[in-house]
């Protein structure tokens, strides 16, 4: 928890700096929340209080709005956010099964973030890639024609890339220390 609080504090400070850019009208509520989430990935609890003060609306109204729309989230996303599309075409082609496979593979349920914050899993109504169903969005990238065995491949690819980055970093650090 302690780590999260520190992080929340950092977000809090950043938002306090950004808020004055928005006019103090309640109609700015959705753009403000969108801007915070875009920058920080989620809406920390304390931040909503700041927003309430700035726009001069009740915190209840902010919760009302933020929970009404699918876009907003109150937990930090994983470094590799995974969104499984469950639009009609994806559903007909087995989107539910793909979601289940991710749940099984990552050991988290839909809507959750893994303990190491590496992955988060979400379902989305439709990303509009229906001709390429079933589709999954990994970070910003859309994966088309996903199958249960491809799920394994996607995760492995992320893991391998992570490992390579770690090794690269280690190599750089050793190089830096020998240079010194």
């Amino acid at each position: 928890m302690a780590v999260l609080d520190k992080e929340e504090l950092a977000v809090l400070k950043a938002v306090a700096d950004e808020l004055p850019e928005f006019s103090r009208t309640p109609s700015q509520l959705i753009p403000v929340l969108q801007s915070i989430q875009k920058k920080h990935g989620y809406l920390p609890k304390l931040v909503l209080r700041l927003v309430a003060d700035h726009l001069q609306v009740t915190i209840a109204r902010i919760y009302g709005v933020a929970t009404f729309y699918n876009q907003f989230r109150f937990n930090p996303p994983g470094r590799n956010p995974i969104k499984v599309c469950l639009g009609t075409a994806c559903h007909v082609k087995g989107g539910e099964i793909i979601l289940e496979n991710f749940e099984r593979r990552l050991q988290i349920r839909e809507g959750e973030t893994s303990a190491d914050r590496e992955y988060s899993l979400e379902r989305v109504a439709c990303i509009g890639c229906c001709a390429l169903a079933p589709a999954v969005v990994i970070g910003e990238k859309v994966e088309a024609y996903v199958t249960p065995s491809k799920v394994e491949g996607i995760i492995t690819e992320i893991e391998v890339r992570k490992e390579m980055a770690a090794r690269e970093q280690q190599r750089n650090e050793t190089a830096a220390s020998t240079n010194e």
Binding site: Y69, Q71, A89, V92, K93, C126, G128, P148
Partner: protein
Amino acid sequence: MNNSPRAFLAELVTAAAAKLAELKNASVPVIYVGCATCGRAAGAMDTIAGFNEALVANGIEAIIRKVGCLGHCYAEPLVIIQNPGFPPLLYQKIGVGEAGILVRSFLKDGSDPCYEYLLGALEADDNFPTLMDYPRYLFENRVIMEHCGLIDPEDVDHYLAVGGYSALAQGLEEGGVRVLEEIKAANLRGRGGAGFPAGRKWEIARNVKVFEKLVICNGDEGDPGAYMDRTLLESNPHQVLEGLALAALAVGAGRALLYIRTEYPLAVEIVERAIAQARQKNLLGSKILGSDFSLEVSVFQGSGAFVCGEETALIESLAGRRGMPQPRPPYPAVSGFQGKPTIINNVKTLSTVPSIIRNGASWFTAIGTPGSPGTAIFSVVGEVEYPGLVEVPMGVTLEHLVVDVCGGVKNGKTLKAVQIGGPSGGCLPASLLQTKIDFDSLKESGAMMGSGGLVVMNEDTCMVELARYFTDFTQGESCGKCTFCRLGTRHLRDILEDLTKGVGSAEDLQTLQELSEMIVKGSLCSLGKTAPNPVLTTLRFFRGEYEAHFAERRCPARMCRSLIAFYIDLEACARGCDACVACCPTEAIFTTSNRKKAIDQEKCVKCGECVYACPPEYDAVRRISPPSLIPDQGVKPLIEEEKEEK
């Protein structure tokens, strides 16, 4: 007359045409890559990287341009290559490897145009089949999508060079009343789904004596399965902006908004750039094209609520509130956002406006049917041979659309039903394929036009499960204001969920029917009023399928997972092939004592992956319903047998 809008525009067009001509007559090859969201999903950005790398490696100079979507989604990534000396050629499924081959054999040597990847030529030519020879192009009538995928959406000059903004210049000279009269005469009906005449809506707003008015482009395309609004915004944003400006001119509005859902980040980015470019050229902003008309345009991002496609809910969300529909009247056209007259039109409706002004109302009414003139864009997806976006004249039959234009059902299977109009539409059985596509015929059949999503289903799709899916969707998206919508859809969903598990009775079907009728009556907005459509139509046309679920605990389509099982036919299974073992996500498949494969029913999650993994020459995995029919083949795992021997 030198400073008339048309003269003003003519100067812009001359410069734009010269710029485009330069590109068309370039002495080096020009490569256009389809980079709308669907193209990117299929790997278009990698394709571009592949081209760049191959061009550098082979020392070839070429121009690469990103364009929008042609609608042939089954063939993505799509690439058009304009190699001097050849007509522009359209290639399909071009990945990194194919890009390299095209550069080496076509651009470097100039000898081999790689027929194996070719979809067709874009211009008539003696040596290449043209796209116009395909049934899809023959039957389509591209009005709104005419330039999609062929021009650069991020360069306003491309749109100007193909006649863009000429309707706006004409409208500015002739005045807003003329624009309004033309749209009324054309009987343009709202393409968002309801089909309300756009001209009549505009007239109401025009007649309100309020100084400040607002026009909004509704790009909150929430229907799962529909993506034509996204494609239009990404492929030809200026056409939407021109329509929006004409609408503002007709009603006398000085402010315009594009409400685009935030799930379409690329569309938002492209539209924002388009607005900036149009403003810079004085096509939007103050005193447009030297006239007295000014229009401020901005983008508002919706944040993911299906109900916000409804206009009163959309207005609520603009005000920073929950998107809950409000009773009408007052209609938004009289009193909408902040009490000002507000016109809300769909992306497709606004995209149609410029062509009507340019070609006249009589041209428009000559297309389609008298009651529903013009064309309709459908996203045809599901089990169809050539899924994608198609634009056909109103009044053609569903069969024509699915079979002739989109190649019919995939893999030689039979067509069972089409679901038209998204969650608020209905399921029509194959026997009703002669239904005409227009606002009124579809309504009569029990379905509706909706936003134009069309899902084609073969015998492997369970109608009960599909009804459950849509009800689950609308239940989740209900804003909660009306009790019938909030609780009624939930009850519907629960009954349907039980049915997919084999639990239910004839009484439940009666409840479904009655509850559906009550939800239709008791809901304020169209979300609730149309939510039971999938249930009502499937009950009407596929009652037997419902009965099989609870009476026989059997899913005739073998889709509902509680009612099916998989097993491997030992007769068909090959020795030593491990394809199914390798693909199984739960390691449920084991090797039997005779070195064939069997499925551990306890571990099996019924994902069906083994069906696809099993090589077609064996085709050994069987799917049966009900699970009790699974034959006892008396198999034991090899390991257990070995243990016993020890």
